[in-house]
Symmetry: C2
Subunit: 168 residues, 2 copies
């Protein structure tokens, strides 16, 4: 029998750094859910509980997230019995970029290429910094998608996938 007498240093695999936070994920999901009743012309007020249950999210955590979105002016709410949340604007007027920025901050992967909240990053010469040039491209690619995709686009895309798969 061979004794294991040494613990090897496992090169740390740095998980997933550049990622959407749970807050961002849940917030975006919730907004998509809230966009659906509007598209269907049904009563648009939806309760936190309902969203939480449907998307398997902690209801208390979701409260905070929806509150942030409300304070950012993207949601309205109705208190009391029969209350809930509904979109402040039409789904076609709310982009994923707007939601993302409220919950996860700027989309730029590095501050020195941020349009919304620029800060120098401390490289020797910003003008000729190669990393900055590439990360600028990355920022623009992400922003192009998120700022040009509205909630309406998402629900439309969802239902087209459903149709294609013959679901519902």
């Amino acid at each position: 029998m061979i004794a294991v007498n040494k613990v090897y240093w496992i090169t740390r695999s740095y998980k997933q750094n550049m990622r959407l936070s749970k807050r961002g994920e849940y917030g975006l999901r919730a907004m998509i859910v809230l966009a659906e009743p509007v598209e269907k012309n049904t009563m648009p007020v939806v309760q936190i509980k309902e969203i939480a249950q449907r998307e398997q999210i902690s209801s208390k955590f979701l409260e905070q997230i929806l509150l942030s979105l409300k304070n950012a002016g993207m949601l309205h709410s109705k208190m009391g019995v029969g209350g809930g949340y509904y979109l402040a604007r039409s789904p076609s007027e709310i982009t994923l970029g707007q939601i993302f920025r409220v919950l996860d901050g700027p989309v730029a992967p590095i501050k020195c290429v941020s349009q919304m909240s620029y800060e120098p990053c401390g490289c020797p010469d910003e003008q000729t910094c190669g990393l900055r040039l590439v990360m600028g491209d990355v920022r623009n690619a992400i922003a192009d998608i998120l700022d040009n995709t509205s909630l309406a686009d998402v629900t439309k895309r969802q239902s087209s996938v459903r149709k294609k798969l013959g679901i519902k």
Copy 2:
């Protein structure tokens, strides 16, 4: 005089979540520095200290980062006096995507759209998940840039900017 008698709850501004880590930033910068001597046909061995000084990075922190990149097979090193690091392959054969993944993990903003390390994200139906569809686009946009930009591309771009600005 008006007394401030209430501390208001300031909506937390969620900094910058989807961002390049310092580890990733420093590693990419260092690799770009290491690509330059090769382009100039000079002695390609560069010491940690030199990179750290030039890019204003903690030399001890940079050690760890370069070691990771070495263990990932992207760098070679020479120990002892006159030693240092040099690229394991030509700058045109090393992409930013490869470096990024070693230091910051998968490029996908959400696990369920990762090509390199997929995991389900727990949404009710992955096939028709609108968020997943959009985040898939985002992943592809980022990967397209990082996987198609080599270190040689970066140094080329840098020198073309320098020329345009009339520097050096």
